[in-house]
Symmetry: C2
Subunit: 396 residues, 2 copies
């Protein structure tokens, strides 16, 4: 199949592009490199060095004989989107190309607005391009488990049957997202559902959990094929961040009580899930949601796993929670649809944590401990002068 990967220079987009190329698909790689721009803005860097996209593509071709075709541009540029879809003629489009950090979206007004406009408009341009050029293209969209929040009932996969005053309907699962970023994904989901309904588009919305890990079968083949590994307070996700703190001899910083429970998955399973979605397209007019995670853990449990897998003593400390979220809550979410289609999960055992720790060990000289502290506070609308001066100047 011809698969266009949007955000193909990013943490998950790049290994996905390689994986699908390896598995025999014709892959186009779209990016505007804004993720690298965020690093310049924040003064942060991937722990693992990453090559430029053109270099990555060349090394992959040298090693595999397979060609990934780059398209450089911005989804907010409708002409670029239309031109790319017309030229590449994809069977499926995998859409990773959104600002994906909750803390980044919470820095201040400008970052909240940027996140929602960037994500919502990019996605709208894509929906219109598909509808106008080829409505049979299968849109595989990355959403997030964070769209659901933490309701006091079981979370289903996108829809829930509700019986109310003697009548029954299957309706979109109610959403209670926890940041302006998560809200942008909720907005996208509603827009996509509508586009499928009125134009007969086919789409799979992958409500993904928190991803951990850095190595995949393809990225380990050459240092210039490596994907990024973020551990900073803005873009770093929790398990990766804990591993860096453990290696740096820094206490693991648990936000608040640490009872916050989330669905998680290994980066290898992200690739497998996306491949499953591509190989099993949604029907014409179908908007379907897969909850894409394999296990749930509390933040406390994750810290314990890192302590356990570390050589030597690691301390855990509790920070005032910068986020507004429940720190002890019910959490049970369905995630059977991808398993039914054949997903065989890589679970989070001690050896997995150890392998992440060993990636960190290899690059320990690049750790900037100062970058790990949380730098956006959910309770402030952005009056924090430090943030305004450090991070508020690039986007507006």
């Amino acid at each position: 199949m011809r698969v266009l990967v949007l955000g193909a220079d990013g943490y998950l987009g790049w290994p996905t592009a390689l994986h699908l190329s390896h598995r025999g698909h014709e892959v186009g790689a779209v990016d505007n490199f804004v993720r690298r721009q965020y690093d310049y803005e924040l003064g942060t860097s991937s722990l693992v060095p990453i090559a430029q996209l053109q270099r990555r593509v060349k090394v992959w071709e040298d090693i595999s004989g397979l060609r990934v075709q780059p398209f450089i541009g911005d989804l907010n540029d409708a002409e670029f989107v239309y031109d790319t879809v017309r030229e590449f003629k994809p069977d499926a489009i995998i859409h990773f190309a959104e600002q994906r950090s909750a803390p980044y979206s919470m820095i201040d007004r400008a970052h909240a607005v940027y996140t929602q406009v960037n994500n919502v408009v990019g996605n709208l341009n894509l929906l219109f391009a598909i509808a106008e050029i080829d409505p049979s293209i299968h849109l595989v969209k990355l959403g997030t488990m964070g769209e659901y929040g933490t309701p006091n009932i079981d979370i289903e996969e996108g829809f829930i049957e509700i019986t109310h005053r003697g009548r029954t309907d299957v309706l979109p699962f109610p959403k209670q997202p926890g940041s302006y970023y998560h809200l942008s994904k909720v907005h996208d989901s509603h827009n996509i559902m509508f586009a499928c309904r009125i134009w007969g588009l086919r789409s799979t919305d992958l409500n993904q959990g928190i991803v951990y890990g850095q190595e995949t079968d393809e990225t380990v083949l050459h240092p210039d094929l490596a994907t990024r590994f973020d551990y900073d307070g803005v873009f770093g996700t929790v398990l990766n961040r804990f591993c860096v703190q453990a290696v740096a001899g820094h206490p693991l910083t648990v936000y608040g009580a640490g009872g916050q429970t989330r669905g998680m998955l290994n980066i290898r399973d992200t690739l497998a899930c996306v491949e499953i979605a591509v190989n099993n397209p949604a029907e014409e007019g179908e908007y379907r949601v897969f909850n894409q995670f394999t296990e749930s853990f509390s933040v406390k449990e994750l810290a314990d796993k890192v302590v356990e897998a570390s050589n030597g003593p690691v301390r855990v400390t509790n920070l005032d929670n910068p986020r507004v979220e429940k720190e002890e809550h019910y959490y049970r979410a369905a995630h059977t649809k991808l398993l039914d289609l054949g997903l065989v999960p890589n679970l989070l055992d001690r050896s997995t944590v150890a392998s992440i720790l060993s990636v960190v060990e290899r690059h320990r000289d690049r750790i900037d401990v100062d970058a790990i502290a949380p730098s956006a506070n959910w309770r402030s609308a952005g009056n924090d002068d430090r943030l305004h001066s450090e991070a508020g100047s690039v986007r507006s």
Copy 2:
């Protein structure tokens, strides 16, 4: 109270500003006149001539001795929003200032993107301004009953108690909006709910039905106090449009089977509902939703009412439905919260229809029958060349 009315030059914003001024509030009137710009874009006009805002304000002061303070600017300009809130120091802000036409949002990609960016960013700027300047300001936001769509269960006011697999929670009512415009209101609702949760803002989301009528106690005092009356295929709402067709001797154009049922209300009740919301503010941190309509009618029933109230024969014709919507469906929506707070509805009886017809009669020389036909088709993503050339050029 000090009340800032956003969109105060519009169909409902202007009569609301007058009404609140009349009732003893200090009123600020914010607008950027983009509604008048849409008329230039589409070649349409209000059936009833409308004076410029400065003239309206002067006439109101001459007649009532009361001063409405104008603020000219765009909510998408954050600096303007912050400056206006700082200067006027409102106790409540009533937010009408959004692109409010579903067909306009469905013209093509550019109009869909414009509608969502304009509405979502304006509302985000407002939320941040309130949070940073004075979180005690009560935000009264105009949403729409169209956010809910037409589920096969009773619609509640914003939230629904769901029991699922033996557990119960009260969750946001699932949304199934029917246009990119309606989607923008769903996005707003989610953003506001979140802002109330994290910042302790207080907000009332008025999910309004379709408004009919043109005269209020204040607007009838002088021709230059009149509010607009739209009957065109893009901005005209159904009952107003039928009245114009009846007077023009044109068949009433029912879209599809005409079983589409919607909540509706008299323009005088809009003013009463907004006043009730302002006088009974939400609590700190509370996001509450009132369903703001008084009766439900199908499109067919509305056509019958206009036929009945007309002098002389009026024909009804069924057009291919330009929208994608259920034409026969269950519809029952709660709307008790505003009644509990004292709303006494003006119901849609024959004399009400007759009074709208008499407004139209008075201005029948201004009717442009060609403007009534629907000009956006939900099934097309915007390839229609006529629309591209006629309406697609102003916004991009």
